[in-house]
């Protein structure tokens, strides 16, 4: 039986496992056993709504691909449940095979069938349909991804970008309940990746396809996702919108992973955090004397050259649209500042720092945050 809500009667489902149809995918406390070469994940919970683009973001080895493979049905779960369209598909003692899950997937290296032409690759999932309908669907899909004239080519006769479109067309043509994308842009040069990212985003929006995208690139996640699940060492650190992830990271790891961040130590006294860079409101409500760290992004620090200042420029990194300065504070603490590309200060210049943050993010301790 296909896990499609339309063909399922509610009586088939255990009442406590029922979920409204708006959750296309739901993971509840999912853990996957450790397997050689695949990182373990534990206690992962999130849900994707109809038409949503959801991103699993994290460094390599964080378990994001393991989660994707568990959703696809390639990887068994040790505990917890995975639901597709409200139907339980994975649990400790139940595993609906991939071929009955009705999920589309684009693999990292596309996994096109090398012995089949483009049109045969796309038609592979439609073999149950009659010939004319199959042909029509394939033609529609070819037009949608802009490969009309390549239908008779073999995969090895296509460029990387074209191969990716074929892989996408092959997955989307069967109207999957859920589309899974495993690092889809990692094999394209940056220019191509940028263009494909935009095209894919538009296409998924137009087709209203619920999508789970795996990536290690936060720019990609920000550009594509409605919501992002940030993973670290097999655990879900934060599940939120891109804006919240960036501005209000839940953990130091998230703060550092999704963009450059400096962590300034400080001490709480009478509702304020006192640091080398000034005072910030104590949003955590800590007792006096508690040690905390304040996260500050480079775009929140403004530099003003001043002869009497006690901080000085250590280095400048030109990034085209901006200059990133590393600045050494009197204590030896190093912070980063983003300045306009025309603001050029020499190394050793004495500067005053003005923190312009409209909000600050505090952490009790740095915990597992890197550097």
């Amino acid at each position: 039986m296909k896990p499609r809500p339309s063909v399922m009667s509610e009586s088939n489902l255990q009442p406590d496992l029922y979920r409204p149809a708006s959750s296309v995918l739901e993971l509840r406390g999912v853990s996957c056993a450790y397997d050689v070469g695949r990182p373990a994940v534990s206690d992962i919970a999130f849900a994707a709504h109809e038409g949503e683009i959801l991103c699993l973001l994290g460094p390599s080895g964080c378990g994001k691909t393991t989660i994707l493979r568990a959703i696809a049905g390639f990887e068994p779960v040790r505990s917890g449940q995975i639901f597709l369209s409200g139907q339980l598909v994975s649990s400790q003692d139940q595993m609906i095979p991939t071929e009955d899950r009705h999920v589309g997937m684009v693999f990292q290296e596309y996994a096109l069938f090398p012995h089949l032409r483009v049109q045969e690759n796309i038609a592979f999932g439609l073999r149950r349909l009659n010939r004319s309908e199959r042909k029509m669907r394939v033609q529609d899909m070819l037009r949608l991804v802009g490969l009309e004239s390549f239908e008779r080519r073999y995969p090895h006769e296509l460029s990387g970008g074209q191969q990716q479109r074929v892989a996408l067309a092959r997955a989307l043509v069967q109207h999957p309940v859920l589309l899974l994308l495993d690092e889809p842009f990692s094999n394209l040069d940056p220019d191509m990746a940028g263009r494909m990212r935009q095209e894919l985003h538009d296409l998924l929006r137009r087709m209203k396809t619920t999508t789970i995208l795996v990536t290690h690139d936060h720019d990609e996640a920000f550009a594509m996702a409605d919501r992002i699940a940030v993973l670290n060492q097999g655990r879900l650190e934060q599940f939120d919108t891109p804006e919240t992830i960036y501005h209000m990271p839940a953990t130091p790891f998230v703060a550092d992973f999704v963009g450059q961040a400096d962590f300034i130590p400080g001490t709480v006294s009478s509702g304020m955090v006192h640091t080398e860079l000034g005072e910030f409101p104590d949003t955590l409500g800590c007792e006096d004397g508690t040690s905390v760290v304040v996260m500050i992004r480079p775009d929140d620090i403004h530099l003003v050259p001043a002869r009497a200042a006690t901080s000085h420029v250590l280095s400048r990194q030109f990034r085209g649209s901006e200059n990133i300065y590393a600045v050494s504070l009197p204590s030896g603490q190093i912070v980063h500042s983003s300045q306009g590309s025309t603001s050029v200060y020499q190394e050793g210049t004495s500067v005053e720092l003005r923190v312009l943050a409209t909000h600050t993010v505090l952490f009790k301790q740095l915990g597992a945050g890197p550097t």
Binding site: E99, M105, F107, A171
Partner: protein, 221 residues
């Protein structure tokens, strides 16, 4: 140059028949065993692996002898096959085909297994996401991609069969003279000139398949 006698033609026909039939018999078993060895893990796998390779290490005469005492009319397996399926191996041409199939089997399993290992498992995973069940994806994805392995398996098997002598000798009926047997018979009675045409024919028949094996055209695909 030299003219072929009717006996020569008979020998060619017999050799080719044995080569083709033994390869066809071995192929489904070869695919099955190679798949099991490459993909499954179970208790006794290395024992099965060793058993498959036995004909490669045993002297062919010993293999022939073992086949004879296994598949002979009075042996348990042979009697069972004869009584229930009417298949008799001992002293029939089918016995020669069986001998060649067993002798070439390790080569066939090895080449199929190697080609199976080179098939990207992600392609089968991709087929799964497209709704293909186990048999479907094996037939429509895995088997076509193993094409090169089948060509190698077939060529090695054919060459093995053309030169196979000791096991065939033990199981063949009287007068069933393949090219290799003719070379052996004439040469053992010191009729060296008479052995020459058959010897040359073995080489000539093997040559095209060897060239096929070494050619790069099909390997590139």
């Amino acid at each position: 140059m030299f003219e072929l006698s009717p006996q020569d033609w008979t020998a060619i026909a017999l050799s080719l028949r044995v080569a083709v039939v033994s390869t066809l018999i071995a192929l489904p078993f070869g695919i099955a065993i190679a798949t099991v060895l490459a993909r499954a893990s179970f208790w006794g796998k290395s024992a099965l692996d060793a058993l498959v390779h036995l004909p490669l290490v045993l002297p062919p005469v010993v293999t022939g002898y073992l086949l004879l005492i296994t598949f002979g009319r009075k042996a348990p397996v042979g009697a069972f096959l004869a009584d229930h399926f009417g298949i008799v191996f001992s002293f029939r041409w089918t016995g020669a085909a069986l001998a060649c199939a067993v002798m070439g089997f390790p080569l066939m399993v090895r080449s199929i297994r190697i080609s199976l290992d080179t098939v990207d498992r992600r392609l089968e995973e991709a087929a799964r996401t497209l709704g293909a069940g186990p048999l479907d994806r094996f037939v429509s994805v895995t088997l076509p991609l193993m094409r090169n392995g089948f060509i190698v398996a077939w060529v090695l098997m054919f060459l093995q069969t053309m030169k196979e002598l000791p096991a065939t000798l033990l199981l063949r009926p009287v007068g069933f003279d393949t090219l290799a047997i003719r070379v052996w018979m004439e040469a053992s009675e010191e009729y060296y000139q008479l052995a020459a045409p058959s010897a040359l024919l073995i080489v000539l028949l093997g040559l095209p398949t060897l060239l096929l094996l070494l050619s790069k055209d099909w390997r590139a695909a």
